[in-house]
Amino acid sequence: MTRSRACVVALVAAVLIAAAAPAAAQSPAAPVGQITWAVHVTLAPTWFDPAETSGIVTPFMVLYALHDALIKPMPGNAMTSSLAQSWTMSKDGLTYEFVLRKGVKFHNGDVMTAEDVKFSFERYRGASSTDLKAKVARVDVIDPYRVRFTLKRPWPDFMTFYATPATGAAWIVPKKYVEKVGEDGFKKAPVGAGPYRFVSFRPGVELVLEAFDGYWRKTPSVKTLVFRVIPDESTRLAALKRGEVDIAYSITGPLAEELKRTPGLKLTPTYFTFTVWVMFTEQWDPKSPWHDRRVRLAANLAIDRQGINQAAYLGYSKPSYSFVPQGMEYFWPPPPYPYDPKRARQLLAEAGYPNGLDAGDLSAEAIYGAAIGEPVVNYLQAAGIRLKLRLLERVGFYQELGEKKLRPVVQNGSGAAGNAPTRIEVNAVTGGRYAYGAYPDIDGLFSEQANEMNPRVRRQLLDKIQQMIHERVMFAPVIEPAFLNGVGPRPAVNGLGLVANHPYSAPYEDLTLKPRP
C-alpha cells in the first residue's frame, strides 16, 4: 500500500514537473525580433532629453522608450506610479512627497535615487518650466528614496503639470551621467531608465533602440525598435505594404481608404487631446454681426460635423461640441448642436439677415484649414453665412493669432496636454494667449477655481464655466481629429491606443510580435 502510494506520488510529481518544464523554459524569454515604425515627423535629439519637452505630444513617442517618469499615463490610468512607488499630498496642499521605487537602474547601471529626481526637476527647461518652477519653493531630498516638493502656495494643478505630458519634469535622467558627459553629450548618447536603451541615431534617417533587460517593470518582449523617418505619406504606405515597416503613422484621406482596403493591413485610429474649433473674435464688438448670439448659434447649427468626419477622417474622428477635448480632466460634456441648416437660416433672419450675410474671412492654418476649414466654410455658405477661407502658413497664423490680428472668424486647434482649465486659460479668459475678449463672470469663476483645492468644488466651478461658454456660444467646436495609422501583419500587440490621449505606440515593453508561422 505504502509502496503503491509512493509510486502514485512519484508519477504525479513526474507529470507535474514535465508539464511545468516548458512553461519554466518559456517564462523568462529573452527579447527577440524587431518592430519598425515609419514616422511622419523628423526625429530630433531634443526628444531624447526630457528636459527639452516642448509641450507637444510628439517627443513622448521616444520618451516612453528611453526614459521613465515618477508618474506617467499608462493603460487605464492617467497618473500611474512608475518610478515613484507612491505619492502623497499634504492636507494643506503645500507639499507633495514621492516614495521612490528601490533598485531601479539606468541603462548605464547607475541606481536611481532622489538626487536624480531633484536634479531632473531643476534641470527641466521645457514647456511651462517658468510657471512650474515659479510655483515650487524647493525640492528636498529626504533620503535616497524619498523626495519632497514644497509649493509656495496650494496649486491644484501641480500634478497636472508635473505628472502628465503637459511637461517632462517628472521624467528622470541620471544626474552623474549628465554631469559627466554634458548637455550635448547627453543628446548624442542618452541614458535613461526606460525599457529601451539607445543604440544609434542618424538625423533624418532613423533611431535604433534595444531592449533593456534591467527594466524594473518587465523585460521587453521585442528586442529592437527602429523608428524610420519617412516624411511622405504615400511612401510610408508603400513601405507598410512591402513589409519594410510594421507600423506607419499618419495616413490620411484617400490613402487611409486604400490602407483599409489592403488585405493584411489594419487601419488603427488613435486619439489625443486635439480639438479643432472656430472662434468668433468680434463677438465683443457691438457693431459686428458676430456680437449677436443668434448668428453664432446659426453658425454652429450650420456645420455638419459628422459629414466632415466622414469625408476627411473616414468617420473615425469625434464630432466636437466643446473646445475642451473629451479626454481631458474636468471636461464638461455639452449638449450636441444638431446639424440644422433650416434653423440656422431662421436664426439669421431673426437676427436681421434674411438674405444671409457677407461675413468676411475665416482664417486658418494651412493644413487643418484645408482639411476642415474648407468644408466648414462651405456649410456656412449653404446656410447663408458667406465667409472667405484665408489659409495661412503655420508660423504666420499663430503669430497673427497671438497678436490678435485675425478677424472676424478664425479656425483654431490645439493638441496641448493639460486639463480643462489649462485649455480655458489660453482661449477663454482675460489674458489668454488666444483670447480676443472675455466675460467678467467667467473670469471670476476661473480665478476662483484656480485656488480651489477641493476637486469636487473645483469640478462644479469648471462645469459652470464650460456651461456658460456653451450657452453664450463663444465658439463653434468642430471635431476632435483622429490620428490614423497603418499596422502590418507582424505585431501582435502594437501599443496604439493603449495609453489614453497618446497617439503613438506605448508602453513599448508591452509590445509583442506574432510567432513566426
Binding site: R125, S129, G204, S234, E244, Q399, A417
Partner: protein, 306 residues
C-alpha cells in the same frame, strides 16, 4: 593674369558676403521659430525662454555679428531643431547627397547626351521627334509624381526595389532616376541645339568636304565642341542636385542636404537654412571662379576685356 585672378577672388568674396547678409535677413522675415517649437497656446514666458535659449532676444545686428564671427572660425551655429552643430549635420548629409547627385548626373548625361546627338544628327526625323517628346516629358512631369509612380510600380507592384531609405545599391536606383530624369531632358535639349549649331559651322562643312567619314565628323569634330556648354551646365546642375533635391529626397526619404534644407525652412531653423544656402552658394561661386579662370586661360582676350 595674377591681377585677373585677384579681381575674380574679390568678386567671389563679395558675392558670399552679400549672400550671407541676404540669407540672414530674409530667413528672419519668415516668422518666429519659437512658435513651431512649442504647442500653440504656450505662454509668453515659455516663448521668451526659447528666444533666450536660441539667442533670438538680441538685436538683429548683434546676431549677424555673432553669426559672421562664428563663420570666420568655421562654426555655422547650432540647429534650433536638432540642437547639434549645423556643420556636423550638413556633413552627415553631404555624402548621401553627393552619391545621389553623382548617380543622377551619370544617368542624365548617359541618357541626355546620346539622345541629344541622335536628335541633332537626325534632325526633323523620327529620332528627333522622339527626343523632343522625351524632353517635353522630362521637363514637364514633376519629379515627385515620377517618384511616386516608380515606388508604386517597382516597389509595391513588382517588389523589385525598396520603397525608400538608404543603405544599399538598390536604394539609389529610383531616387537617381527621378532626380536625373529632368536633368536628362535638359541635357538632351542643350546637346541637340549645341550640336545643330556646330554641325552647321564652316569647319564641319570643310571636314565633310574633305571626305572624312560621318562618324568621325560627328564624334571628333562636332561632338567635342558641342560638349563645352553641356558640361558647363552639368557642373552647375551637379551643385543644384547636391543642395536642392528637396522633392526627390522627401519622396524617397533620402537623407540628403535638400531634405535638411526643407526641414530647416519648415521649422524656421535659421542656422540650418543659412548654412545650407551659404555652402550651396559657395559651391557655385567656387565653380564659377574656376570656370572664369579656365576661360581666361583658354581665351586670353577674356582677361584683357575684363
Amino acid at each position: 593674369m595674377k591681377r585677373f585672378i585677384l579681381k575674380r577672388l574679390g568678386y567671389a568674396v563679395l558675392s558670399l558676403l552679400l549672400l550671407s547678409l541676404t540669407i540672414f535677413l530674409f530667413v528672419r522675415l519668415t516668422g518666429d521659430p519659437a512658435v513651431l517649437l512649442v504647442e500653440p497656446g504656450a505662454s509668453k514666458a515659455d516663448l521668451a525662454a526659447i528666444h533666450a535659449q536660441l539667442g533670438l532676444d538680441r538685436s538683429i545686428w548683434v546676431q549677424y555679428g555673432q553669426f559672421m564671427s562664428s563663420l570666420v572660425r568655421g562654426d555655422l551655429g547650432h540647429s534650433f531643431y536638432y540642437r547639434t552643430p549645423v556643420l556636423e549635420l550638413y556633413l552627415s548629409r553631404l555624402p548621401y547627397s553627393l552619391l545621389l547627385a553623382v548617380a543622377a548626373m551619370a544617368f542624365s548625361l548617359l541618357v541626355g547626351i546620346p539622345s541629344g546627338i541622335l536628335a541633332a544628327v537626325h534632325v526633323n526625323r523620327w529620332w528627333d521627334s522622339a527626343g523632343k517628346i522625351f524632353a517635353l516629358l522630362g521637363l514637364s512631369l514633376p519629379s515627385f509624381w515620377v517618384g511616386l509612380v516608380m515606388i508604386l510600380f517597382f516597389s509595391v507592384y513588382l517588389g523589385w526595389l525598396p520603397s525608400s531609405g538608404s543603405g544599399t545599391a538598390l536604394h539609389i536606383v529610383m531616387p537617381a532616376f527621378a532626380l536625373g530624369w529632368y536633368f536628362a531632358a535638359a541635357h538632351m535639349r542643350l546637346t541637340r541645339s549645341s550640336m545643330l549649331e556646330v554641325l552647321g559651322s564652316e569647319y564641319v562643312k570643310l571636314a565633310r568636304l574633305k571626305g572624312l567619314p560621318e562618324a568621325r565628323v560627328i564624334g571628333k569634330h562636332a561632338f567635342k565642341n558641342a560638349l563645352i556648354p553641356v558640361l558647363t551646365l552639368a557642373g552647375i546642375n551637379l551643385v543644384i542636385m547636391v543642395n536642392v533635391a528637396i522633392v526627390v529626397e522627401t519622396v524617397f526619404a533620402w537623407p540628403g542636404v535638400g531634405r535638411l534644407l526643407a526641414e530647416g525652412i519648415a521649422f524656421r531653423d535659421f542656422p540650418v537654412v543659412q548654412a545650407t544656402v551659404l555652402i550651396g552658394g559657395a559651391m557655385i561661386v567656387v565653380v564659377n571662379f574656376f570656370v572664369d579662370i579656365l576661360y581666361a586661360v583658354i581665351d586670353p582676350r577674356i582677361r584683357y576685356e575684363r
